[in-house]
Symmetry: C2
DNA sequence: GTCTATATGATGATAGAC
DNA sequence: GTCTATCATCATATAGAC
């Protein structure tokens, strides 16, 4: 019985026809709804009608604010950029001892990833079909391996003789782990996961020398 | 000018109307085409018409072999299972010294992931919308962390005193890194990446004791 | 089993009233 | 800026000839 033309689940409460459905602007609600639905079901599986219903706006309004559905996706990715927050994670960090440094980095990264959970889901889902997204991903990886490496170097300055290539490998191993931990829907105890990972990165398997080749 | 009804880009070469377009069975070509297109553009963005054209079959034939488009996806996932090959990676492995063991594990995992590149792409793309896929992913993670942990324990038997929880953390760190390395489109030198990761897992940051807290 | 033409419904986008 | 009704197109799926 649901009509196949555009309708709105608007409240029947009063005669007030216009405005007011939520405190936020209509445009913001559209972006929120689209972000949530794109993350959950993917870009193509999400209809503009569903976005309109979730945002509690008439479906015509979407195309007043955004020329096309694809432009709506582009606006989400550009206006709600996770890269900015991820960069801030490293930039605002003081120089600490290695363990505290890695723990702080790890928890902040995971926090940022989980704070932008929907964005991450969209990036992961669409990076094979949208070249711009694939490029973003690649740059993010390169950049943050570099950032973590530089930071670890500062942290270790003058206290060790580990070659930079190895430090970079530690940074990469760390970042890749954080990515997977961040991707997993419900890591039961992210803090414990990060702690154990940091232990591995600091000490490795802790073999006696005889066990090495 | 392209007709909007179902057509086939079939060869005009002869009067032979039926059969023969390729050596393989039509059903197999449909599965191949769907797998490739689902991986590249996603499930919803791929039309059955596109699948038919790529497979060089009339579009009606798809629904002779598969009741629905979703059933086609399910057939791909069940008939071309990457889990079997991944399990074999660990099962057929001899007990070796830790470094050789991790290197062999790593290269075989990456080989398996790259051999099933399209399947991996599909799993990654759709695991948030299809519950069965999400479950597969979760089980794969749990199972293989367990497999690697057990294997490392055998490898280390009697030669060390590392607690099992730490071994498990090493196994998890290893697997998560392999997953990301496997996901990345074109890792320039996968072997070097694996080598460096193994070095990190075996020795960590190699700090002097004074650098620990 | 293979192929063609078509039904049925949904989808992105628009026109135009308010 | 907000809302409604509608269009043109395209997608999955079917019917039925060969």
């Amino acid at each position: 019985m649901s009509p196949h033309h555009c309708v709105q689940a608007g409240s029947d409460m009063a005669a007030s026809k216009k405005k007011e459905p939520g405190a936020e602007e209509a445009r913001t609600r559209i972006l929120d709804a689209a972000q949530s639905l794109f993350a959950a079901h993917g870009f193509n599986a999400t209809t503009t009608k569903a976005i309109a219903e979730t945002a509690k706006v008439p479906c015509g309004l979407i195309f007043y604010y955004f020329p096309t559905k694809k432009a709506l996706l582009a606006s989400i990715l550009s206006e709600r950029n996770i890269l900015v927050e991820l960069r801030a994670v490293v930039d605002t960090l003081h120089v600490l001892d290695p363990r505290t440094a890695l723990m702080t980095l790890g928890t902040r990264y995971i926090d940022a990833l989980r704070h932008h959970k929907e964005l991450t889901a969209i990036l992961l889902r669409e990076f094979r079909s949208h070249d711009e997204i694939a490029t973003q991903f690649h740059e993010l990886r390169e950049e943050h391996v570099g950032l973590i490496t530089s930071y670890l170097q500062e942290t270790l300055r003058g206290r060790h003789d580990t070659p930079i290539q190895h430090i970079q490998a530690v940074a990469r191993t760390f970042l890749y782990n954080l990515i997977v931990i961040g991707i997993i829907e419900d890591p039961p105890e992210p803090l414990r996961l990060i702690e154990e990972t940091v232990d591995v990165l600091l000490g490795g398997l802790r073999l006696p020398d005889s066990a090495h080749i």
